[in-house]
Symmetry: C2
Subunit: 369 residues, 2 copies
């Protein structure tokens, strides 16, 4: 499965895998794809350094990349405390009451909330980059808008390609103007932050808009047929995130979240602002229902919502409070029905792709094999 | 572009075109596809007879079909007057006020509203079938659930295949149980009544669920690349509706609706209950905004909403009141940028499909041509 982009990056298959877990990222690259480690959870540079060391030691010399979350809009001199102060009392009360209603235990004294707003701040992302540029990463992706010009320049000096996610052709064009090398077209069905245009429509629209820049299709891809469909739409590769969450290498194995993911159907996700303040697809839970309820206080804008719910989410996750427990994931969750190794998932994708090509050749009446 | 289903129906290409316009339906079949005439607007049997005569005379002996709207739930002995009586005064007032706000003129005395709820009633659909079964139709499609058992049996006696639209694997399984021959998997991005699962995820899910029944992919398809993608997902053909609206053979040519369709981007549609009471994708207008406004009265359930707005929509369409003027259409509207003949659109689809297959063969490293 070779496109211009996969050749440029020296990977066997044009399958890019985004994951927060180093073991998954390394396994994707070893399997012949391109593993991309999500950096957002590394608020301490040393933690990121430790995990990049691990990836470097387990990737068998294969290429890999890093994904950061740099907000498109730069906010100068605003601290976490400033943002905290902007949160209305009514919303804090709603969090407290909802947690109490479900009997969610408190964190132990001094125990930190794992997921902090700081990971979304440019300053923290820059610290992550300072660490990452010491490693031979081949790709830097940004999940929120184009990275700042100096970051793009710094990446290009190091021969690192820069990718950015886009939910519309307009966003994609902004990325091209910002000197981005690869656009990830993130369809409505994708997990995490996503727009309203479905992959079937979005992918070719973005391909046409930014031509000749390469486009990766994201959203709704979890089988070789879907890989084939994305490539038929003009993408130079696919960008998969959800599918790896239930891999045995993921740090979620045997957790309550994994059980919920394995049980969920394609209709069990919701595009909600409950997580960050911007629409993000995730498992639908009683927590997202509470935030999306027109009789509730509603969500706050980014970054307030993320800060508001950070500790609550840590508690829900730590104590595995099932009715409230969720995770960002796409509609492809319906295909995630068993825990498998990254290699097994990868083999399934590449074999399914070959079968889909066989079928296309038959339908088109081509003789070739 | 040959699949088992296209061979069974004797068409050159596995492209099914749904349209309310006889000239478009006939042109699709003549071009080598399968034209399906929408019957919902024919409340008088003689009108349907006249138009089926026309299709029969212009289809050059090629196969074609009919699409009816038979509600899944049978409501016995309920008249239009009964339904009228269930509409709250507050909602009638909202319609009157909204029309007044935009200065929408009244219809002339005795002038009938063109679009009536009656077209959605089983009794009317049965009258349409009585007419249609006198013609050599090869396919009967139903847009709302499975048709009643006696209708399926009647179709099968006449060697007519029965198709039904589904927005989820669960709906598709119900169709299979009802003896349906073909499932149309209608993705989130499609025009008209549609669910929340995008085509990229829905198509293979429905294919797997109803195997070995053939599945047509609907939603987001307007180019040969998208046809190829849908077939890669396991569909035995594609079902296109939106794309024909801006064809020169359509009865909308040069109208204000056509101008709006040509100008609209993929982000200019909305999935709203404003039209019928069930979520249907359509152009976003100040009319849909008014109904979707949380400060408004909100929409009524089907069939009340359709009856409530029928006259208003006729007035808006007749007088081409631009800010309120809409039509059901999918996200593919962004690709509809010029008025072209059905044949030109068809050639574009088939050539684009061949190019997409060429590209797939290259990416897969196959030698064949």
């Amino acid at each position: 499965m070779q496109t211009e982009l996969s050749k440029k990056l020296g990977v066997e298959h044009a399958i890019f895998g985004f994951t927060p877990f180093p073991a998954v990222a390394a396994a994707i690259s070893r399997a012949g794809g391109f593993g991309v480690l999500g950096a957002v959870r590394y608020t301490a540079p040393d933690d990121l350094k430790r995990d990049l060391d691990w990836v470097e030691a387990h990737v068998d010399g294969k290429p890999y990349g890093l994904d950061v979350v740099m907000p498109a809009k730069k906010v100068e001199g605003v601290t976490e405390a400033d943002v905290e102060a902007m949160i209305p009392e009514q919303h804090r009360k709603f969090v407290t009451e909802t947690l109490a209603k479900y009997g969610v235990p408190e964190l132990a004294e001094g125990e930190a909330s794992g997921w902090r707003i700081t990971g979304w701040m440019e300053q923290v992302a820059r610290t992550q980059l300072d660490v990452a540029f010491d490693y031979p990463i081949r790709l830097l992706a940004n999940a929120l808008g184009s990275p700042p010009a100096d970051v793009v320049a710094r990446a290009h000096e190091r021969n690192v390609l820069v990718a950015a996610l886009a939910g519309s052709a307009r966003h994609a064009l902004k990325h091209r103007e910002a000197g981005i090398d690869i656009v990830v077209a993130q369809g409505y069905e994708a997990g995490g932050h996503t727009g309203e245009i479905a992959s079937m429509v979005l992918t070719p629209e973005v391909v046409d808009a930014v031509d000749p820049l390469p486009v990766l299709a994201a959203g709704g891809i979890g089988s070789g047929q879907q890989v084939a469909a994305a490539l038929a739409l003009g993408a130079q590769g696919v960008w998969l995130g959800s599918l790896w969450l239930t891999c045995t290498e993921a740090e979620l194995t045997s957790s309550a979240v994994t059980r919920k993911l394995l049980a969920a159907g394609s209709g069990d996700t919701v595009r909600s602002r409950a997580l960050t303040g911007k629409p993000a697809r995730q498992l639908r839970t009683e927590w997202t229902d509470a935030w999306d309820d027109p009789n509730g206080p509603g969500t706050l804008p980014m970054p307030l919502q993320g800060l508001l719910v950070a500790e609550a989410l840590t508690r829900i996750q730590k104590y595995e409070v099932e009715p409230l427990l969720g995770t960002p994931v796409g509609q492809i969750v319906g295909r995630m029905t068993s825990e498998r190794s990254v290699q097994a998932v990868f083999d399934d994708l590449t074999r399914g792709f070959e079968r889909a090509v066989d079928r296309m050749i038959r339908i088109a009446g081509r003789s070739g094999k």
